[in-house]
Symmetry: C2
Subunit: 283 residues, 2 copies
């Protein structure tokens, strides 16, 4: 906004009244590692706080405090990939997580459903219903980045899909028409090629491009609570044990923080961070 | 044989000539841990060696030496299950081993074959041809007993079979009509039920009963060289690196023992043990 670039006077510590330069502060913040947008946002938030007797020193101090806070929160968003690994060691919290992600995408979901196939009974990780179509969603959780989903994963999921659809049994909530494979790591080229070829929907950390698991999480603010930099590992585990996985879920059940022994003012700082992770408030 | 129970005289150390009792020697061997059949076999092998001046003491000494030797060899057969684990840590020697087992069952085999399926290229562990029928054989090697083959294994092998047979491509040496799943450990109940239901042939340490991997190995004398109690771990590894896996293979390539630095008389003792493991000679 041009208007925010108007000349505003501030008082130096010497008592001298000088013109305050927004551009100078913006450049200073950028030199400290802020993006241009971040710097401009911070400056825009500083200006209304200024009073007649605010000193240049106070302005800079406040601006850099906001940057540190923003960067701390940003760090918690940046660690999304690591946060997904922290849902382990078992695959169960990841299944609940994917169930929540699908719910936010408009599906009706059930996690961990036993269904009779033609040959055997299968446990389907997530059953997802939308507009009369039922998808079986298989989740493949890996606790480190080096483990990718090779072609065997979509192969066995295709055979499971075939066994369920060949059963002739009418499943609740309806006949399965689609199979998904979801992983927190990556698919091998073969796995991508095979899965796509047989009509499975694949979703991984970075696949499909523009609509990957990472993209969906960021778009809907579905960051797992393990992203938090303020909760301890033990506290995160206690919340996972309560079947909480999303940052935004904790915001709806704040009494859980009391239950696991977190008191104000720390509780408020944690809730602020979780809200930021959920795209629900700004810094 | 009744005739072997006839009275035979032997000389005691005192010079006294007495009747030699086969039953007494048999009972003595059984008390030392021999089976009744083993004891009888040993006694039957002792009798023709006896000369007029053989003493009772010499007879017993010789009989017990034979028992120790037999039990040593038996130990090497008993460790078959462990010997299969020792084919690891990679699954490759187990694939070669299964290729050899199938060859001895009358199949023409190729190990590690790349075949184009409808969606992707698959590496088939063993391709086995017999009477115009081609089987794809998938080998699942586990390096310890606690790892069983769960239902995901036959599931992905069924989907691989489907992708290969749906390709419409004429494979060499012919179109695949059967899928096998072979493991050195066990299948879970679900895996057995699913695999059997979709028409896969399953072969594990103890399945199917009476015609399991264990049964086939013992019947045809196809003990892997890792059964040997005389070869060191390093020597076994050197032979595996030369793509030798069966005890009987080493008997056909005895110069390999020279190559890895094994000299007579140890070489002869090792060859005797390997021959025993291959059901090719008796002790």
């Amino acid at each position: 906004m041009k208007s925010s670039n108007r000349i505003r006077t501030v008082r130096k510590t010497t008592g001298e009244v000088v013109a305050f330069s927004e551009d100078k502060l913006t450049r200073s913040l950028v030199r400290s590692g802020a993006s241009k947008t971040q710097a401009q946002t911070i400056v825009a938030r500083i200006l209304p706080m200024l009073e007649e007797d605010t000193t240049t020193q106070q302005i800079y101090k406040r601006a850099f405090a906001l940057l540190r806070k923003e960067q701390g929160y940003m760090a918690s968003k940046y660690k999304l990939k690591k946060a997904l690994f922290e849902l382990g060691p078992t695959g169960f919290p990841f299944e609940i997580f994917i169930g929540e992600v699908l719910s936010h995408m408009g599906y009706n979901t059930q996690v961990g459903v036993q269904l009779q196939g033609h040959c055997v009974t299968h446990e389907v990780d997530v059953l997802a219903l939308k507009e009369g179509h039922v998808s079986m969603v298989e989740c493949k959780f890996h606790s480190d980045q080096s483990r990718t989903c090779d072609v065997k994963i979509p192969l066995y999921i295709k055979a499971r899909f075939d066994d369920l659809t060949a059963s002739g049994i009418h499943h609740q909530p309806g006949d399965i028409t689609e199979g998904w494979v979801v992983t927190n790591t990556r698919f091998t080229k073969d796995a991508e090629q095979y899965g796509t070829c047989v009509g499975l929907r694949l979703l991984s950390w970075d696949f499909p491009k523009g609509n990957s698991l990472k993209d969906i999480i960021e778009q809907f603010g579905l960051h797992p609570l393990t992203c938090s930099t303020m909760l301890t590992k033990a506290e995160k585990q206690m919340l996972l044990d309560e079947k909480m996985v999303l940052s935004r879920d904790v915001l709806k059940h704040t009494s859980l923080l009391d239950k696991i022994g977190i008191r104000a003012p720390r509780k408020n700082r944690i809730l602020n961070e979780l809200a930021y992770l959920s795209n629900l408030t700004q810094v």
